[in-house]
Symmetry: C2
Subunit: 323 residues, 2 copies
């Protein structure tokens, strides 16, 4: 592929690299940033990895995760910026203007709607994760697949495919992952690090959310709410990741839409939407100035919990009747 050769030339030629990715970075963006950072570092390059947000605790086991910073100490100058897993400047947050100062911009992305943010755009919507694209780049550059690199890129594919269960998982994904296992990656270790370090209070909160789950009369919509009382019970400082509860709600037979309401205080209610069917939840979130994807979206609405619940549910019911 011609773009791989072009990127290879830049990585070999330039000296000072900025690597960045989208706000609220996930396993794919973090794993791939670290892998490219480690590779460039081994090639003797100067590497800065910079994101708007810090590394979530569950990914702190990745080698050199401390290389990822959320601010620049001093105004560095970069020969090249590598933007990963991101197809819009806005999604880089405060890093966007820094990345734009680089002489050359490389964009590696697997989003279907991506047109490329840089001069050199390696876009492949058939890739399950940017980690897969980084693997192809690594191979093209004839760089050895060390354990550290394999671990970072495995984490990318594992998380973006939902442990190889999402529809984006391909023949190639499994082939590439088998190379990572050859490179010494232990699947149970990685899974334990990412998914089995939950706190006891967060588990209690999940229990409260599921035991107060509600279902619409037609069985197509399920919802639950994080109330102030719940947070008081489990301690306000609980780290809560809504993904697990939302995916359990989605696992109910017959469900089209799963909703999580969270009372943020000061009359602000955060709503997370998940769709299991053709229902486009992004359209609903957009009505309330939110956004997201067809199957996963969110918004923040002003009002009290009961009022917001009623309003959102009514909108969803109208939409379901339309389908």
């Amino acid at each position: 592929m011609r773009i791989l050769s072009l990127i290879k030339n830049i990585l070999e030629k330039e000296e000072r690299f900025l690597i960045t990715s989208h706000i609220r970075p996930d396993g794919d963006s973090i794993g791939t940033q670290l892998a490219l950072g480690i590779m460039l570092h081994k090639m003797g390059k100067k590497v800065t990895i910079l994101n708007e947000d810090t590394v979530p605790k569950c990914y702190s086991f990745l080698p050199h995760s401390d290389w990822i910073k959320s601010s620049l100490n001093n105004g560095n100058q970069f020969d090249a910026a590598i933007i990963l897993d991101c197809s819009e400047w806005e999604r880089l947050g405060k890093i966007a203007p820094i990345a734009q100062t680089a002489d050359v911009i490389i964009n590696i992305d697997h989003h279907a709607d991506s047109h490329g943010l840089g001069k050199y755009n390696y876009i492949d919507p058939s890739a399950a994760a940017v980690a897969e694209q980084a693997y192809h780049l690594l191979k093209h550059m004839k760089q050895p697949l060390t354990y550290e690199l394999a671990l970072c890129l495995y984490t990318g594919i594992l998380t973006d495919t939902g442990s190889f269960k999402h529809g984006n998982t391909t023949v190639t994904s499994h082939h590439i992952v088998s190379e990572f296992l050859k490179g010494g990656v232990k699947p149970d270790f990685v899974y334990r690090m990412i998914h089995e370090r939950n706190s006891f209070p967060s588990m209690l909160l999940q229990g409260m959310l599921l035991s107060s789950l509600q279902l619409s009369n037609d069985g197509h919509v399920a919802w639950t709410s994080i109330t102030k009382e719940m947070l008081k019970k489990v301690g306000y400082t609980v780290e809560f990741e809504p993904e697990s509860v939302l995916s359990m709600m989605r696992s109910i037979e017959g469900i089209d839409v799963a909703l999580l309401f969270r009372d943020l205080g000061e009359d602000k209610i955060k709503v997370n939407f998940r769709s299991k069917s053709e229902v486009n939840v992004c359209q609903i979130a957009q009505k309330f100035n939110g956004g997201g994807h067809k199957q996963a979206a969110g918004c923040v609405i002003t009002g009290n919990l009961e009022m917001v619940q009623e309003m959102v549910l009514q909108n969803i019911m109208e939409m379901l009747n339309y389908y």
Copy 2:
């Protein structure tokens, strides 16, 4: 491999086959039974698939799952019995004496402690699932990998590796699975069929269990109980699969042992044990006339819920102090 040639000869030569597997069959045993059944059927053979227990609802989407019976209409005579995923006669339940009447017994198994139940034993503890072994047999027999076969065998590997996250997942597992995806298997469809058809009451019950979760003072043991009151609330007929709650309990940081107590009525308490560390929970279950594996075991104890909880927890605490 010589054993593959020997089995190939028998499958080609004999006419009437019994295929069976262990009690409470799982995705691996059911998927592999169906795959071999479909293959033999295509070869023009007479195939009977027989298990002590019926097919769990979540696997009913597999092609020809209705071929699996739990009783014989009349006393069939079998040229050969194929025993899958099973290394002890007792684990075949009431099917054991029927299988023993076959002229030839073939045992395909991946358990480490397996010595083989038959004349022809294809034992491979390095295989993540018997489905992997069935794949090798299929290839050796030069049988085409149809979509139906790929779907059945994919289900076997998916379930026995816990969606490719358990330590048994290997380079070969991923290679074989990539062949199944080539054969048309859609990962998201299979996952939805197996894991996303839960009932609303079972989800409420999970919520109740997690919200009443208890943790030992040292943080190493977590437990919860299915009480009669809970079952009354959600309706007694709720189908409940303890695996999901137990794996969520295991996901708490610092946990060594997760326990689920279930009041069966009539002073019988069922206990499920899961270990996340070196603690051998089978040893504890055996103390109460139960059994299982090092990391997953169970038993039924006579007594009331509080008494049984206290007794079991005391035993676990003693064991933990020993480690």
